[in-house]
């Protein structure tokens, strides 16, 4: 089946990101396809390329990137939720006159419409909230 995940919890603050990653790997192990993870609310903080967790803890940012690289899962970040929270890609940083950016590929800033499309396309959309 085709799955989408909606992640709304900040990494490390709540277990939502861990649960979603764990569920995603169980899905692909069973032969399902994880089309996309959509990050909304504080979930957008998962997209920060600057995260530097302690070495003895899971590196959530890298885990998302691996999911994307190994299984073609899109990592979509709600742009409205992201901008106000300081998650900007190079283009948005430029547009807002900021030097430096915090979001880069495979994470992509996108509109809420992508969440609606995802909900329409997949067989199951599962939400992981804080």
């Amino acid at each position: 089946m085709r799955y989408g995940l909606l992640v709304e919890g900040a990494p490390y603050s709540s277990q939502a990101s861990h649960s979603a990653l764990r569920f995603a790997s169980a899905l692909v192990a069973r032969g399902h396809r994880v089309e996309s993870v959509f990050f909304y609310h504080d979930g957008v903080y998962n997209a920060s390329r600057l995260a530097a967790p302690p070495q003895d803890e899971p590196h959530l940012y890298d885990a998302w990137r691996s999911l994307s690289a190994e299984h073609g899962t899109q990592l979509q970040v709600c742009i409205a939720a992201a901008l106000r929270r300081g998650l900007l890609d190079a283009r948005e940083a430029d547009r807002h006159g900021k030097t430096g950016h915090s979001v880069e590929s495979p994470f992509e800033l996108t509109g809420l419409g992508q969440l609606i499309d995802l909900g329409r396309e997949v067989d199951r959309l599962v939400t992981f909230a804080p």
Binding site: Y3, S14, R22, R30, R124, L125, V126, A129
Partner: protein, 96 residues
């Protein structure tokens, strides 16, 4: 059948009340994360209306050292069981 997913315990949050109100007689409820505290025998009364349709995620129970306290009426499943529940359900609804 709809799979409802709850990550808050009835010991501190009333979210379980909204989840139960949303369930029909065939729906299932899966307790995950801190929600598994509701699966303990001492807390299980909150879920008596859905006996037989209550599940709890094993790895969240065991990380908290609570597998032994889980009520016998709860169906303890691993993450593959979580996947199966979502396959069998028409859709999922998360409560937090």
């Amino acid at each position: 059948m709809i799979l409802h997913i709850l990550n808050r315990p009835p010991s501190s949050s009333l979210a379980y009340r909204d989840a139960l109100a949303a369930m029909d007689a065939t729906d299932r409820l899966l307790l995950i994360e801190d929600g598994v505290l509701g699966a303990l025998t001492a807390q299980i009364r909150h879920f008596q209306a859905i006996e037989g349709r209550l599940f709890a995620l094993r790895e969240d129970l065991s990380a908290r050292g609570l597998e032994g306290q889980c009520d016998a009426s709860v169906q303890v499943i691993d993450v593959d069981g979580f996947v199966t529940l979502t396959e069998e359900a028409d859709k999922t609804v998360s409560w937090f």
